[in-house]
Amino acid sequence: MSRFLARIAPQLVTLAAIVVLVTLFFPDFIQISFERGRFVGPIIDVLKRGAPVALLAIGMTLVIATRGIDLSVGTVMAITGAVGAWAIASGYGVVPALLLAMVAGLACGLWNGILVAIIGIQPIVATLILMTSGRGVAQLITEGRILTFNDPAFAFFGSGTLLGIPFPAVLWLLLAVAVTLLMRRTALGMLVEAIGINRAASALAGVNARVLLIAVYMASGLCAAFAGIVATADIRGADANNAGLWLELDAILAVVIGGNSLLGGRFSIAASVLGALIIQTIDTGILLAGFPSEYNLVIKAGLVLLILLLQSPNLAHTWRFLRDEAMRRREPEPELHTRKEIEP
């Protein structure tokens, strides 16, 4: 548990700092009230509005852990939203609509996974294909219109509340916990990390890298399907043009802010979700703090640059070098290297 806390500490500290900062400008930020059976307040709003990116970030974390990237998630949101809205509008009922949307998300993930794991196309290139063409597919389903529906049961997934908390917030929280448990209570998490760190060695040890890779992209597709359902249900309509637009970038950013390396390996879903919350708090906070929303992107860019600086391998290398030098001066005992390493 303490290890878990240590892992997400930087993200918690960042989030807290931003909350404090926003509260300084807008003291009501941390106000939460209970009205008509639901909690209301800016923080509740952050939890709800952050849902799509948080949901995407869960799947993206897994993909990035395998040293991949999934550019298509925003588009998959549009496709699954369109499928869900179409099913509802065609009178299939809520459960079939949800199932169809989820199947669509899984199918998109399967497509990406096959391109990456079997055909061997670089993840960024492979997922770019679906990213550009998928929106066309979504528009094909909605026939270019904003496909609206009026089904309170489906709309619940976007604007309903559970125990007074907005359902989207409950959903990402539950999904994050569920996926974390799935990864850590089974061996999946370690196997995913293993293929992200050293695919060749993992394959030699008998890890089925191919199947795992496909599964990971399918998981990302499923997460995008949930995000698509939430976004569609929220506005009671599928907007194939704008649903999930550029959210893949926010999702990747959330994962990076969560301290997960783009080079794969060790991952933390909790930290990624916190990253998504940090992004949403900045977005909402800038508005509430009275800054014009046009500052939002510049501040976001500044934040990204700062995180890049802190995560830079070069910087880390310089830092380690300095530390090692200092250590060496204290104790002259050399580290043991092997001959193999000397003569690669």
């Binding site: 209570r185 370690m190 060749a200 008998g206 193999k340 000397i342």
Partner: protein, 504 residues
């Protein structure tokens, strides 16, 4: 004759190891000089000191009598030392002409003059006997032609000393012949050529003199014609035939011959990799695979474990066919494989010692059936203790351990699987003496429990110490099998050195 290049007392250390120890080397103008030694002997370090990739710790390098100290590859190039590596260090996505003239393109009005560039390239290639279209991408030509283009560039830029680092490793006989023609004509023009290769036939065919390195020290420099193969291999492997043999010889179990057969590989092979071979593995036996680097010893292991697909043959046991078409199948059939390159194929660096040890076991159980944490800890602690893995804890990242301990972790991974047939490729390379003995002791111990092992090693005394019998591999062929009293250093060296004339 004046020396073109003289190296005196060159030393280079890395933390914890001395890679070069007072090495001397003389290179004449107009000679091909072979540089020989097994992995880890110091060849690469010596070359890197010459080409400026490493800074030497001490010693002197003189080129044409003047002391030099190149600080980078390009500096060495300007001084006159050019290098061509096994993996051609040119750009396959540029044309031959672009590669040859890179950085010195003829220009007109600031723009590269394509016609002049191609003419220049053709001029540079003239005399190499290559009639190729210099306007095509380098990558569309065979490796041999790429090698010659690389040589042409190196000669043009440097022109005094040419270092050829394993240039023939991926060439066929005809291509090698073509390359040798080029090398001879350059020698006749007065270049000093250092030729690194582990193909002894080629050394005898091409070179005038040779220098053998072993463990970072110069063992001998001699005219090639005055050495025979046996003598040369003795220098390389550090064994004198006259030495007392078999002091450490494993006392062969007299019942070895009666042990039941475990697995039989029939006609297993892949063209261009290893010629089809038959091999029967008996219960509780240790088979040693001897051969020089590049002889096909590692490839044999890779075929058995399905790392590379065989194009002929199969494996079978008493119950019928045994699947080993890919690593997962091989593991399912009870095989294990600790590969030679521990860093790229063995460890998963960022995972902990514990996770690395249970990785294969977990992969076999499937993701849904995790090994309970208590069991993981028990396994990890047991193997850390059993193999004496030096780590501050089971949760330390394996990448932070020393090489020997990393090797033990990979070994532990397979022992935890309790395989029936374990392949160990260079299990003791880069491991300190203490751990070395431990691993050998371990091999004895586990075969005592009924496991069968195939060991690949370039250290003959080690092979002899652990093996019940030894298969000798040469030129991608299994050429000899030594059993019982025939297992001696002399016999192995003779089998490796034997030249059946087929290779000429």
């Amino acid at each position: 004759m004046p020396m073109l290049l003289t190296i005196r007392s060159l030393s280079k250390s890395f933390p914890g190891a001395r890679a070069l120890d007072q090495v001397d080397l003389d290179l004449r103008a107009g000679e091909v000089h072979a540089l020989l030694g097994e992995n880890g002997a110091g060849k690469s370090t010596l070359i890197k000191c010459l080409t400026g990739a490493y800074r030497r710790d001490s010693g002197e390098i003189r080129l044409d009598g003047a002391a030099i100290s190149p600080g980078s590859t390009s500096e060495a190039q300007e001084l006159g030392i050019g290098t061509v590596y096994q993996e051609v260090n040119l750009l396959p996505n540029l044309t031959v002409a672009q590669n040859l003239t890179f950085g010195r393109e003829p220009r007109r009005f600031g723009l590269v003059n394509g016609r002049a560039q191609r003419e220049e390239a053709r001029r540079m290639l003239s005399g190499y006997g290559l009639d190729i279209d210099v306007g095509r991408d380098l990558g569309t030509y065979s490796v041999a032609i790429q090698q010659i283009v690389a040589i042409a560039r190196a000669v043009e830029l440097s022109g005094k000393v040419l270092i050829l680092d394993e240039p023939t490793a991926s060439l066929d006989a005809e291509e090698t012949r073509m390359l040798f023609g080029v090398v001879r004509s350059l020698r006749d023009k007065g270049l000093g050529i250092i030729f690194v290769s582990h193909f002894l036939d080629q050394v005898f065919e091409l070179t005038d003199r040779l220098t053998v390195l072993r463990n970072g020290q110069k063992i001998v420099t001699e005219e090639t014609a005055r050495l025979d193969r046996v003598k040369l291999i003795e220098h390389m492997l550090g064994r004198e035939l006259a030495e007392v043999e078999d002091a450490e010889r494993r006392r062969t179990d007299p019942e070895a011959k009666n042990r039941s057969e475990l697995i039989r590989f029939e006609n297993l092979g892949r063209s261009g990799l290893v010629q089809p071979f038959d091999l029967a593995v008996h219960r509780g036996e240790v088979i040693g695979l001897a051969g020089l680097l590049g002889s096909g010893r590692t490839e044999t292991a890779e075929l058995m474990f399905g790392v590379r697909a065989a194009d002929s043959g199969k494996a079978r046991d008493e119950n019928g066919d045994v699947a080993c078409g890919n690593p997962r199948e091989a593991i399912g059939s009870g095989f294990g494989f600790a590969p030679e390159d521990r860093k790229t194929d063995g460890i998963v660096a960022d995972l902990s010692v514990r996770e690395n040890i249970i990785l294969a076991l977990q992969a076999r159980r499937g993701w849904a059936n995790p090994i309970p944490r208590a069991e993981q800890d028990r396994l990890a602690d047991a193997y850390i203790q059993k193999l004496d893995i030096r780590t501050s804890g089971a949760d330390k990242a394996v990448g932070d351990l020393s090489g020997g301990n990393q090797q033990k972790v990979v070994l532990a991974r397979w022992l935890a699987m309790n395989p029936r047939f374990l392949i160990l490729d260079e299990p003791t390379r880069g491991i300190d003496v203490g751990a070395h003995a431990e691993i050998l002791r371990l091999i004895h111990q586990i075969t005592g429990e009924g496991m069968s092992i195939l060991v690949i090693s370039s250290e003959l005394d080690e092979l002899i110490a652990v093996s019940d019998r030894i298969i000798v591999v040469r030129d991608r062929k299994h050429v000899a099998e030594l059993t019982g009293d025939d297992v001696t250093t002399g016999a192995i060296v003779r089998a490796i050195a034997a030249d059946d004339g087929a290779h000429k």
